[in-house]
Point group: C2
Chain length 129, copies 2
DNA sequence: TTCTGTACTTACCAAATGGAAACCTTGAAA
DNA sequence: TTTCAAGGTTTCCATTTGGTAAGTACAGAA
């Protein structure tokens, strides 16, 4: 019993950790870029993602590499030549996100409308009798 | 042409905004809790989500309400009685996230292994000749 | 008359986030 | 011999994030 509780607690913690890692702005955008373009170099990836600083791109890629989502291939030449591509796991994650991307594309207008309505609404509301 | 570019830029911005809003730790957990439990009161929701502060729960719920993902129903009694439930849009988003949840559950072990391997790996690696 | 329950709101504060920009490495080209 | 390239790393710094704790509102119970 205690084992089960501890196990579910540990799993729960792992799930949250993974959500934090995976449901990240730059991670999602890198995932998408790599899915679309296959193997890509660092600078090119920065262009594809757009608006990302070197620091954040490096950090994001390292994290993804650690989690087994991308492979980093260093060609020991000068100037450096480094390529990134998705692993099978990375690819499957990007497929799992497909539904979310589609949702965002399909609902962005409705969200925009909802926001405008909310902002236009008086601040104090009570349920009608 | 300029119109098209501007339009895609605006859409791109909206997509990022929505990713930021939607791919949020607490948002995802609230979404899941409300999908599982239907209409729920504030304090109960805090229990279901677990580990969330009042401040963050309020903030998250307000954001979700603004985006049209949840409905907030205030019953004007004392002490206050407030219920939250998903809208159709909220429900469809939680369904869109289904794939991600499944991915996380299915791959957490592999991710853990990948991390251990990465951490055990020497720091400097070059592509083999 | 003080206490309780519920759903906040606010003030305060420490920690984390993340951008900008400078610096680094090394071989080759100008 | 200065410059450049690619892919970082590091430092500095402002902003954001988010937790804790206290305050608020108000009717009914004790």
């Amino acid at each position: 019993m205690t084992d089960v509780l501890e196990h579910t607690a540990a799993l729960e913690q792992m799930v949250r950790e993974m959500i934090d890692a995976v449901a990240d702005r730059w991670t999602m955008l890198v995932l998408e870029a790599l899915e679309e373009h296959g193997e890509v170099r660092f600078t090119r990836l920065a262009e594809l993602v757009g608006g990302v600083s070197q620091k954040m791109l490096t950090k994001t890629l390292r994290q993804m590499e650690r989690d087994g989502l991308v492979v980093r291939t260093v060609h020991p030449v000068i100037p450096p030549h480094v390529e990134y591509r998705l692993t099978d796991m990375g690819l499957s994650l990007s497929e799992a996100f497909c539904g979310v991307w589609q949702w965002v594309e399909a609902h962005q207008e409705r969200v925009q409308v909802a926001r405008e309505e909310f902002d236009a609404r008086p601040k104090v509301m009570v349920a009608a009798k």
